[in-house]
Assembly symmetry: C2
């Protein structure tokens, strides 16, 4: 039985290691979750797998854990990126959460012609990704990149297959490449502009993906497209 | 260009038809959305396709629309049910919304041994399903059934293939039947009980479905499993 508490800490993890806690972690463990000396906590750092630790010292703004045995070896997520146009706060948070659950390695907010919201707090989204990883049992916290405009990003795109979801495609079939790296691009609620769609269609790396006859919200489209990628190319195979 | 306003009305729709509005629809159209005489509204009733109508009479608690030309012929969604264990209010609403977007025909809340919440307001969920259908361009509003306990439901289950998502299955492969009818069962956050899992495993209609190595929240699991069903057996083929 794994511990109920689970924490990402950017610190080396091996048996017997003492791990110091910062103010935020101490507050979360001791004030919010009421952990006490001896309470088990699962730890991961994105490199060394998952470890069972116990609370060693408690404090208001600090504390430490003592690492015990390894629970799981490190498994890296597939080399999968999610590109999405930022939405309103709650929906953006939802996309981040879903991306983590679905095993995305890197999240790139992209600014499109019809992007609803251009204000992106990367640090807040990164913290949200970390919390989502702690909750869904992931061994890796995806990096949230700073937002970039879509068109220049496409101009410099390398040979990574880029699955783009386009509501104009209802009825077409996917013939995806069985590549071990990829990216999924979800457009904004208003859809891609004609120029963006034309640009995507000229790219040999672009893979148009149809997601059925109904209009999906961005977070639904993200989960659906990531499911198709994971089952075809990723760690759901 | 379809009208921006879209409404489900349980009323016959054909060209020239006058459609009376109830208090709720009149309030939505005229008070909330500020529609006026002549404003176009897309209408669907789950049977006759989608029609362009215009506001004919406005009022505080009533009004009427006049039906014009048909925009789309009726397409019935696949014969797909979603069974899910009710969650907290916001998450349950989310599952309903996702089920509608994903083209589910019938939604059945089921009470399992580890169900978090047993209070289900079916009328509220049904209204939420209707709003989701209006927003996602669906031509059908799924029925939301009254909640039933899972075990007796399984005892009386007919030959409809029942895809059940089980976090204990990570790594197994799906060999789904290519059936035109089906159901997807999403367990509660706490997982199925041993008795429920054993019961499911004895059913020849049951299809265990693995959704990757990470733990998915219920609404994520619902979208992922419905994606796999739609691409294999449904209207995404």
């Amino acid at each position: 039985m794994s511990p109920k508490l689970r924490l990402f800490l950017d610190h080396a993890l091996h048996e017997g290691q003492a791990v110091p806690l910062g103010e935020a972690e101490a507050n979360y463990l001791f004030a919010v979750m009421r952990a006490q000396k001896g309470t088990p906590v699962a730890l991961f750092n994105g490199r060394d797998g998952e470890w069972e630790a116990v609370v060693d010292e408690t404090g208001r703004r600090s504390g430490s854990l003592r690492v015990g045995t390894r629970l799981r070896v490190q498994a890296q997520p597939p080399d999968l990126w999610l590109l999405f146009a930022p939405l309103k706060k709650t929906r953006t948070d939802f996309v981040i959460e879903k991306a983590v659950e679905m095993g995305v390695a890197r999240i790139l907010p992209v600014l499109t012609g019809h992007t609803n919201s251009e204000r992106v707090n990367v640090a807040r989204l990164q913290a949200h990704a970390r919390e989502a990883a702690e909750q869904c049992g992931a061994l890796h916290v995806p990096e949230v990149a700073a937002p970039v405009p879509l068109m220049p990003l496409l101009d410099g795109w390398d040979d990574r297959p880029l699955w783009f979801c386009d509501e104009h495609l209802a009825g077409t079939r996917i013939h995806p490449p069985q590549a071990a790296r990829g990216a999924v691009l979800i457009g904004p609620e208003g859809g891609f502009t004609d120029a963006e769609r034309a640009r995507l269609r000229t790219m040999p790396q672009a893979v148009p993906v149809a997601l059925g006859p109904r209009i999906l919200r961005a977070e639904t489209a993200a989960v659906a497209a990531l499911t198709l990628w994971q089952i075809t190319c990723g760690d759901w195979r």
